[in-house]
């Protein structure tokens, strides 16, 4: 039935809901809308799971184990539930989901503008216009690399890369590499580039330390079982702060190995403080490294304590290995506070400093003074507008693939009510007019 609609309006038209983005979140919403028989299209700038095809480095694997890769009514059924998908495997998984749910996706369709016209939205694309009553923004939170302004002061002779254009160490010359940022991305790139024989300096700010496996089980298993991933945005103390928490230092490898700062410094990576400026061709690092490492160690200690208490209470304790505690993060006596970027010893700077969403095309009054979307658990401050997949949007798991299911159920229900009410309001207006 939806297929017919797709053929009837190949280049735009009128539809109840436009979903922007055919990644896992947009497709999960599509399934939810289809199940409620809500007429919709999914507009995709490239292909299904586009960023997983074109914006990931070669060695990247998901940070969540395969058994946790689930979408509404769909889950991993392969032979390696405890493994971690490569990017091509993620593409395959999401594509298979799209086929299963028969999603009305229009690929190669880039949204250039969303604006309000009366009580509807107008969605302009490179292939026609759509008029709709609701819009679901599922274009992701990782559109633009968040590179600090002082990046402009880097010497022109350096190669600079973001995780969007980094693929493998073969892209780099043989000189040293400064990796800025110590979340999952920064640690993984620092490790891989160091293994390639290049000298790596890693600039470390606030970070979240986590072992890959704890008491014999994947850390994600514990986070899920304890209920941490299900914590809701309206139940935490400070949601603004919670949403800013960086991604944990994890890596998905067939060996299920942990990757942390201690391992990197043992292997010979130079660990320095947060990069806070570039002056006269010198990178300047913060003297706050000991505190950043102490905070991450304390936070890890609290997490493990929470897990152990839950394991004890639930009886899981008897099925798993004994509690473990990890050595504090080693910080050198006096790590360098600056690095000469003009000496010729450094060839590349990689910004593993996170991403921000791109809302340049969103012409509705829903942005705050920092360009972020004003929303209440995904319900945007403009009627009929919804967002998906942002960090801790409704739940701590909102940005994960397996977090989409609960969010689209909540937001899908809200959206269905909104459509019903707005139809009722129109009927009333027509009767009055």
């Amino acid at each position: 039935m939806i297929r017919v609609a797709q053929r009837r309006y190949p280049l735009g038209g009128t539809v109840d809901v436009v979903v922007i983005g055919a990644g896992h979140a947009g497709l999960a919403m599509s399934r939810c809308l289809s199940q409620s028989s809500i007429d919709h299209v999914v507009l995709e700038r490239g292909e299904i799971a586009n960023s997983w095809r074109h914006e990931r480095w070669d060695s990247l694997r998901l940070l969540t184990p395969n058994w946790q890769s689930r979408l509404p009514g769909y889950c991993y059924s392969g032979a390696d539930p405890h493994g971690y998908m490569t990017a091509p495997e993620v593409v395959e998984f999401i594509e298979a989901f799209a086929r299963t749910i028969d999603a009305p996706v229009r690929t190669g369709t880039t949204v250039t503008s969303v604006s309000a016209v009366d009580d509807r939205h107008r969605v302009v694309t490179n292939h026609g216009q759509w008029r709709c009553r609701a819009v679901v923004i599922a274009s992701g939170a990782h559109n633009i690399p968040a590179v600090p302004p002082f990046a402009a002061a880097l010497p022109q002779s350096l190669q600079t890369l973001t995780p969007k254009d980094y693929r493998n160490p073969g892209q780099l010359d043989d000189r040293g590499v400064l990796v800025v940022g110590a979340s999952a991305t920064g640690l993984q790139l620092a490790d891989e580039i160091h293994r390639s024989g290049r000298h790596v300096t890693l600039a470390v700010g606030e970070h979240i330390r986590m072992p890959r496996v704890y008491r014999g089980l994947d850390i994600q298993w514990w986070l899920e079982a304890v209920g941490i991933l299900d914590e809701r945005y309206d139940q935490v103390d400070d949601i603004v702060r919670a949403r800013r928490v960086p991604s944990p230092q994890l890596i998905g490898t067939p060996q299920r190995s942990t990757l942390d700062l201690n391992m990197l410094s043992e292997r010979g990576v130079d660990i320095v403080g947060r990069l806070v400026g570039v002056n006269d061709g010198k990178a300047q690092f913060s003297g706050s490294l000991p505190n950043h490492c102490a905070m991450a160690d304390l936070k890890l200690g609290r997490l493990l304590k929470t897990i152990d208490a839950w394991a004890e209470q639930s009886g899981k304790s008897s099925e798993v290995t004994a509690p473990e505690r990890f050595a504090p993060t080693f910080v050198a006596e006096a790590p360098p506070l600056s690095l000469d970027l003009t000496s010729g010893r450094i060839g590349t700077v990689i910004w593993a400093t996170g991403f921000r969403p791109d809302y340049g095309w969103l012409h509705v009054p829903a942005l705050d003074h920092k360009g972020g979307l004003r929303h209440d658990g995904g319900i945007v401050a403009v009627p009929g507008l919804y967002v998906l997949g942002l960090n801790f949007m409704r739940r701590r798991k909102s940005s994960f693939m397996h977090g989409a299911e609960d969010d689209v159920r909540d937001l899908g229900a809200h959206l269905a009510t909104y459509l019903r009410d707005s139809a009722y309001r129109r009927t009333l207006r027509a009767a009055a007019g």
């Binding site: 806070v276 400026g277 300047q284 913060s286 706050s288 505190n291 905070m295 609290r302 006096a334």
Partner: protein, 186 residues
């Protein structure tokens, strides 16, 4: 055993601080402050700095009284030692900022403090300021801070207080990160 609810009171009005945070989130321009000091040379290395007015919440503000700080160098530098050295004022600033932070964070986390004592030590090779060796920097080569805290909290909770205090401290940020300094002569 009789259990009584004890109200935690470190003398910090956390409600007011949280209220200010909420208000300033909605009006970020009011959050722009200007801190000021004046300094007059007296004699030799002796100077006196005064602090009174500052700008914040969109208006000129003033301390209740004017505060005065004498700075000098000790006698081993052939000075008269009429006040703490300027670098010791940096330690004073850092210590008092972190200590205030510990109290505020403890109040917010419902931890009753009984005593907080910070001891600071900063290393400096004065070959730098004397121009003996240009490879030696003028400033500290490091600062060591030891906090001794007696409070109704576990060792980890106290460590977390001190860590969070550093995370939110203005002077810690000023000391650990570069700051632009523009000096002009009129």
């Amino acid at each position: 055993m009789k259990l009584t609810a004890v109200k935690v009171d470190n003398g910090v009005n956390v409600e007011a601080l949280l209220g200010a945070r909420q208000a300033l989130t909605e009006a970020p321009e009011a959050a722009r402050f200007k801190w000021r000091a004046t300094c007059s040379w007296i004699n030799g290395t002796h100077s006196r700095s005064m602090v009174r007015g500052y700008f914040g919440l969109g208006a000129e503000q003033s301390h209740k009284t004017e505060f005065s700080y004498d700075a000098d160098h000790p006698e081993i530098f052939a000075s008269e030692d009429k006040g703490a050295t300027p670098v010791e004022y940096v330690l004073v600033g850092l210590a008092s900022c972190l200590t205030a932070g510990v109290a505020a964070v403890a109040q917010h986390r419902s931890i009753q403090l009984r005593s907080v004592k910070a001891t600071l030590e900063a290393g400096m090779d004065i070959q730098g300021i004397l121009g003996i060796d240009s490879e030696v920097r003028n400033g500290f080569d490091g600062i060591k801070i030891v906090f001794e805290i007696d409070a109704d909290a576990s060792k980890e909770e106290i460590a977390a207080l001190v860590a969070q205090s550093q995370r939110r401290s203005a002077v810690f940020d000023i000391v650990t990160n570069p700051t632009h300094v523009a000096v002009e002569v009129r």
